[in-house]
């Protein structure tokens, strides 16, 4: 085989693969991008059709367990707006009232957020950026001084 043919074949192979990869990536991107909302953004923009993430603080005194002991109800707040959340399962270690939380799931017509996952960010200082900014704006910021 001539060098020219070989080069053409190699180029063809790489191009096919690149096209395949692009198709895979674009196809997967479409369905799997999770948008992040704060309760205020949710109130302003309205809920997205698909699954999304909601971040804020677990409102003090809002956590309650159903009789089965596994379903938990609480409210996520950014101190301006509040969203009620229901979740069945075991909560992560860092879940606590007054702490930052991110929940992933869908919202129903009545405005109840059914969480499929409560994310443990594995960091007690973690707080979504938008929430931190909202807290700073409202003077409720109790974290360390901003760097």
């Amino acid at each position: 085989m001539k060098r020219k043919h070989r080069r053409f074949l190699a180029l063809l192979g790489s191009m096919t693969l690149l096209g395949l990869a692009a198709a895979l990536i674009l196809g997967a991107f479409e369905d799997n991008l999770l948008f992040f909302y704060t309760p205020t953004q949710l109130a302003e923009k309205g809920p997205p059709g698909a699954r999304f993430r909601l971040g804020g603080l677990v409102e003090e005194g809002s956590v309650a367990k159903d009789a089965n002991g596994l379903t938990v109800r609480f409210r996520v707040t950014d101190l301006t707006n509040v969203v009620p959340v229901v979740y069945t399962g075991v909560l992560p270690d860092l879940f606590r009232e007054g702490q930052g939380v991110v929940v992933e799931g869908e919202i129903d017509g009545a405005g109840l957020f059914a969480a499929a996952a409560v994310l443990a960010k594995h960091d007690e200082n973690y707080m979504p950026k938008d929430v931190a900014e909202a807290l700073k704006a409202s003077g409720e910021w109790r974290g360390e001084e901003a760097e």
């Binding site: 790489s14 895979l24 799997n32 991008l33 075991v90 007690e124």
Partner: protein, 659 residues
């Protein structure tokens, strides 16, 4: 006092690094042997200074000197000694010192272990190492000095994040860094080769052991991190496609490609330019991994630093390092002539396919990891790219990789024929297909995908064993001769066999644990029993126990199978008062075929506890597969051709016989 000595020593290291980065380069340019000769000594001095600084910091940790801010923030006097030490690298500042320590250690190894390298080439490689060192030391001294004092000194430290107080994670960062920094050697050799404008088989022989060692360490580091996530986070998952995990996985993918393409350069003098580019990309991804994890761009347990000034500094470092080396590559690479030609069906072509697929997968992971950062930077909102994206991009690319992985080692160099290959692999393909059908029928899954995963694992392991059998001429010659062939088989061949088998075992583990995992979440009172996958778990009791720096609620479970007691499980929920944090300690019963994984959740009313029990089939195979890959790399590393200096000794012993 000791902390100040450490600080001073770090400044001296920076000055030495500046000398190492410039003088040998100038010497090699001018052909001045005296200036070239400075390189090894600069490398040695630099290692000494960095080691001094490292041990000064370690001393502060061991004696709990809380007047040092870094110790105050990350240690506690009651912490076990192992976690006092690992606290050093469990934070941003300390981990940078470890990074540089490993970098200079490798520099030292090249300076005094690389006796068979041409002096000018070695001087250039060491100069590149010096440049990396300058960047990191300047970064450390300017923005992240670990020796800053606190006055007055607090009485007690803030303690290390309890999640990080774990033996698996204590050694995870050093192993990861050995990998990251190890790829800097391949990078330095690549840059030195570009400066000289020459890449040959000898170059590949120098690069391969470094790449292999770095790859082994990185594999081990990633496996350790994944193992930790599995038993410590209490979700029974082992890989989350978290940006931090991806940050270490991308250099691994590129490094794996580099490992294979360097073989082609050594054996066949082909793919030179591509290999140089891969070496640059692999190290660039390692740098980016450090950047992503250390700058606080990602919010995760690893994101220790939240100082944007640091981010800007590392970004500058990245731009200079990656931009500069790619520029040099653009200018010099066209001069690298490919010599070895090969047909589309040949072992080289198999390696090319391996490289293309790995590079594409790496690109896919890169896009998924960086896209949220990009969108955030241009004000497009906050998004995250979830695991489904990565699975949908990654898995389809791995299927052809595994298919080709089985075939390529059976093909000869230069030109092979598909018919012969088909004849040899026909049996393996039939067996894999039969196993897939059997699995599908037996497990009665709706989707055929798990069965395909099992078939792929069987296909890879079958062909690896077939290849080994053919090398040993098993069953065609007397057994004694096969045994003697086995003894004389190059260690590199054994290494490949082991590593490829490891991949097969890993694939089987991933498939089974993803497809057939059983999960049970329930509320249990003492005396209650839950049945999972044939195991009866009885919740016996729950009580309080005290650890060195934590309090724990511990549950006791009796595990029975067909009425016989198998084991007792003690999952814990620990509370660390110093950090006001709790962690979950899963209890795991491991057999060769599965893990039984029990977690104590939260207390509910009336003495009940929420509990989770997972049955994770073949999860141990995941770690076993990784260990086999590392072992394969290590065995290959002991191959005589890789041992630095080995050819020199042979030449010295029998000067007449050589060449």
């Amino acid at each position: 006092m000791i902390a100040e000595l450490g600080h001073f020593s770090l400044v001296l290291a920076l000055l030495t690094a500046i000398v190492q980065a410039t003088v040998p380069l100038w010497g090699a340019w001018r052909g001045d042997a005296g200036l070239i000769g400075i390189a090894p000594f600069a490398a040695a001095a630099q290692f000494l200074f960095v080691a001094l600084a490292f041990f000064a910091l370690m001393h502060a940790y061991v004696v709990s000197d809380f007047s040092v801010v870094n110790v105050f923030e990350n240690s506690h006097s009651l912490k076990p000694i192992l976690y006092k030490l690992s606290g050093l690298w469990g934070n941003h500042e300390g981990s940078l010192i470890l990074w540089v320590l490993i970098l200079t250690l490798f520099g030292l190894a090249v300076a005094f272990g690389g006796g068979n390298l041409p002096p000018a080439f070695r001087a250039r490689a060491l100069a590149v190492q010096g440049m990396i060192s300058v960047g990191f030391l300047a970064f450390s001294l300017a923005t992240s000095n670990p020796f800053l004092r606190l006055d007055p000194a607090p009485l007690e430290g803030r303690d290390l994040n309890p999640l990080l107080q774990d033996p698996g994670l204590a050694f995870h960062p050093p192993a990861l860094y050995l990998g990251y920094v190890g790829f800097s050697m391949a990078f330095s050799f690549a840059i030195a080769a570009l400066i000289e404008g020459r890449v040959d088989a000898a170059w590949a022989r120098w690069v391969r052991p470094w790449t292999l060692a770095a790859w082994c360490a990185l594999t081990l580091g990633i496996a350790m991190g994944s193992w930790w996530a599995y038993y410590e986070l209490g979700w029974g998952g082992w890989w989350f496609w978290d940006p931090v995990e991806n940050a270490s996985f991308m250099p691994w993918l590129a490094g794996t490609a580099l490992l294979h393409s360097a073989i082609v350069v050594e054996k066949r003098s082909a793919l030179k330019s591509w290999t140089i580019l891969l070496a640059i990309i692999t190290f660039a991804l390692s740098l980016m991994g450090t950047f992503l994890v250390r700058s606080g761009v990602l919010t995760s347990v690893h994101a220790f630093a939240t100082d944007p000034a640091r981010g800007v500094f590392i970004l500058g470092l990245l731009v200079v390092a990656i931009g500069g080396s790619l520029l040099l590559y653009g200018v010099r690479a066209p001069a690298l002539k490919a010599e070895g030609l090969f047909a589309p069906i040949s072992r080289e072509a198999g390696m090319v396919l391996n490289n293309l697929l790995l590079a594409t997968a790496c690109g896919g992971v890169l896009i998924g990891t960086l896209y949220p950062l990009f969108l955030d930077a241009v004000g497009g909102g906050t998004v995250s790219v979830g695991p489904p994206y990565f699975e949908r991009v990654f898995v389809p690319l791995m299927v052809p990789l595994l298919l080709a992985m089985a075939a390529a080692p059976l093909l000869p160099w230069k030109r092979g024929d598909l018919r012969g290959l088909g004849q040899r692999l026909g049996v393996v393909a039939a067996a894999a297909l039969a196993l897939a059908l059997f699995t599908w029928a037996r497990m009665s899954d709706a989707s055929p995908l798990p069965a395909c995963g099992v078939a792929l694992a069987a296909w890879v392991s079958g062909s690896v064993l077939l290849e080994l059998g053919q090398r040993l001429k098993l069953f065609t010659v007397p057994f004694g001769e096969s045994l003697s062939r086995a003894r004389h088989l190059p260690r590199a061949a054994w290494g490949m066999t082991l590593a490829h088998l490891g991949v097969a075992v890993f694939v089987a583990g991933v498939t089974a644990s993803t497809a057939w995992r059983i999960e049970a979440i329930q509320l249990m009172r003492p005396g209650d029993t839950v049945t999972v996958a044939g195991y009866d778990l009885t919740f016996e009791s729950e009580g309080e126990v005290a650890g060195p720096n934590y309090m724990a609620r511990r549950g006791t479970f009796t595990v029975r199978r067909n009425g016989d007691i198998v084991t007792l499980l003690y999952p814990e929920k620990r509370f660390y008062p110093s950090q006001q944090t709790s962690t979950t300690e899963a209890a795991i019963h491991t057999t060769w075929l599965a893990d039984l994984y029990a977690v104590l959740g939260d207390p509910a009313e009336g003495g009940a506890w929420s509990t989770r029990v997972y049955y994770n089939p073949l999860v141990p195979w995941i770690w076993l597969g990784c260990l086999a890959m590392v072992a394969g790399g290590a065995v290959s590393l002991t191959d005589r051709r890789h041992r630095v200096g080995a050819p020199v000794r042979r030449r010295a012993a029998q000067p007449a016989a050589a060449e």
